[in-house]
Amino acid sequence: MAVNSTPILCRFQYDCHIRLFDVDQADDMDAVAAKCAAHIVGRQVASQPDKILRVRRTTDDDNAPPFPRDMTVEAAELTRFEQLDVYFDVA
């Protein structure tokens, strides 16, 4: 595992499983979402080409605001095994 990477838990919209991915400190949220989607969308979750993907912290009420798309993992202060919602949104 690279020094700059952090394992996160991905709660991908419509998916059955919580997944585990390594993301880099320098990744922005679009990159994080893309890393997750590469292993999920078109495999177990149908693609939605007209939508974009947003990332937010998983919370009990499912209402955390999304991170800005260009915010990095480092700036978002994501910690080891932090759980993130990755979800479809209108472009």
Binding site: C16, R19, F81, Q83
Partner: protein, 500 residues
């Protein structure tokens, strides 16, 4: 006949407590082994085993059982049944034997703890029969699959699984080590005898036998019901223990033991039993759905027994009822998608007719689980095999060690329930597994799940290839592939409308 009836002498055979002189009572029966609850010896001596058996009766009855079980096998040995059996059915056998054979044998040790350390003499004797029973179950469930290892190397897992670090085995072993290998005598009686054996083995060993008989495998059907007849007897160790604890002001402790073990056993048994019943058996051979068996044997029969011995339904009962509707369906999704990580060849079991049946038995199945399979089916139909395999790691629960999953589709319910404890972040599949951790963190906190091992250096480097090797896939035998090599997808070509 001038022989005495059992009742004329049986009580003497269980009047064997004496007051020690050369050791203290606490040395002879240490609290960690015998009773951390501080109930008096006199109270334990009221233990009255409901299902009585003597040595003489035991060897006669058990000999007859074995004569029955082994003779069916001899008769069928040359029938080449397994050469023509549905590959999905063989997968069920591989999964069953790998998970069960050595686990049954492992139960000899906690039963021996009862035979040595129980303060109730009758209970000590019953513990003795229980370990003999479990030796039987271990041995007979090694002997039967051993005959199949020549036909198919995946049957080697019947012996090897528990020596491996396969994710499914880590899950089963964590359960066994928790509820039976590391518990004192009375707690183990509630967890193993009552929650496990009275509560949940019926569904596995009686329910599955009906489907196996319909498929034509009378060897297996007969074997597992014969095993269950032993379980039905020695499981009765639990009931009097609960009564004694309730009577001595330890109801809350007994309740907690039940609540922990029932959930833990359920999480594993739902996979071992639910997946075969609802996916692996051919549709026309299914007698009932897993859910219907659960209602008959657990939600009705066992719930009645819980209330009858003076305990309450586990606090999470509603959550459990919901889990009956989704947990094994989730795991079926995962096992099939990550089939390279298991030692059997999973069947998808989601042809158009099967989906109709699933929707009928589990209303709403198509709107949730169906969305997952729609994508899979579309990929296979269009020749995109490489997309029909799971290629990332899933998070696993730090209690049950099972991939954290929940109903897919519009409901989107999967979620890890997390806890930060002494600087480490733990993830759980449900609030129940998280609650169990909290009942005794010292017991649970040091364990590393397969995911933790990827980051601890134990699997180095943690590539998918290395993880597979670590789990024994490609080592003990090849890992799994689709049981029917996608033959089931043809039904969608003739009925394309069913796919979407």
């Amino acid at each position: 006949m001038a022989l005495l009836e059992r009742s004329e002498w049986y009580d003497l055979a269980r009047t064997t407590n004496w007051t020690p002189k050369y050791a203290t009572e606490d040395e002879l029966y240490p609290a960690d082994m015998s009773d951390p609850y501080g109930i008096s010896t006199e109270e334990w001596e009221t233990f009255d085993e409901p299902y009585k058996v003597t040595f003489r009766e035991y060897v006669a009855v058990q000999r007859e059982k074995d004569t029955g079980a082994y003779s069916v096998k001899t008769a069928l040995q040359h029938s080449d049944y397994y050469d023509v059996a549905d590959p999905a059915y063989l997968s069920m056998l591989k999964m069953h034997y790998g998970a069960i054979a050595l686990s049954e044998y492992a139960a000899c040790q906690p039963d021996a703890r009862t035979a040595r350390f129980s303060k109730a003499p009758g209970m000590r004797n019953m513990g003795l029969f229980a370990f003999l029973d479990e030796m039987r179950h271990g041995q007979i469930q090694l002997w039967f699959p051993h005959a199949l290892v020549r036909k198919d190397r995946q049957f080697d897992w019947a012996h090897e699984a528990q020596h491996s670090n396969n994710w499914a085995v880590l899950s089963g072993r964590h359960l066994m080590d928790d509820v039976m290998m590391t518990r004192d005598v009375p707690t183990c009686a509630i967890m193993l005898s009552f929650a496990f054996e009275t509560g949940l083995t019926n569904v596995q060993l009686v329910g599955l036998s009906e489907d196996a008989a319909k498929v034509g495998d009378h060897t297996f059907s007969n074997l597992i019901t014969s095993i269950q007849s032993d379980e039905a007897r020695h499981a009765q160790i639990g009931t009097p223990v609960i009564e004694i604890m309730v009577r001595n002001g330890k109801k809350a402790e007994a309740q907690q033991a039940l609540d922990i073990a029932f959930w833990r056993v359920w999480r594993v048994f739902a996979i071992l039993t639910g997946v075969p019943m609802d996916y692996q058996f051919p549709l026309e051979k299914r007698a009932m759905s897993f859910k219907e068996y659960m209602h008959e044997f657990v939600i009705t029969q066992f719930q009645r027994q819980i209330l009858d011995v003076g305990l309450d339904r586990p606090w999470y009962w509603d959550h459990f009822l919901d889990d009956v509707e989704n947990h094994h369906h989730c795991q079926q999704c995962g096992i099939w998608s990550w089939r390279q990580t298991v030692w059997w060849n999973p069947t998808a079991g989601v042809g158009p007719r099967e989906r109709e049946w699933l929707e009928e038995k589990y209303p709403g199945w198509n709107a949730s689980f169906g969305t997952y399979w729609d994508v899979v089916i579309d990929n296979i139909l269009n020749g995109r095999d490489e997309l029909a395999w799971g290629d990332s790691m899933t998070a696993v629960c730090n209690m049950c060690q099972i991939p954290i999953s929940h109903r897919p589709g519009p409901e989107w319910r999967a979620r890890a329930h997390q806890l930060d404890y002494e600087g480490r972040r733990y993830s759980f599949c449900t609030p129940v597994c998280k609650w169990i951790f909290g009942t005794d963190p010292v017991r649970y906190k040091d364990h590393h799940s397969i995911v933790d091992r990827m980051y601890s250096g134990e699997i180095e480097p943690p590539t998918f290839d290395n993880i597979l090797k670590y789990m024994g896939c490609g080592e003990v035998s090849e890992g799994g592939r689709d049981a029917h090599d996608y033959a089931w997808i043809e039904a969608y070509r003739t009925q394309p409308q069913a796919a979407e």
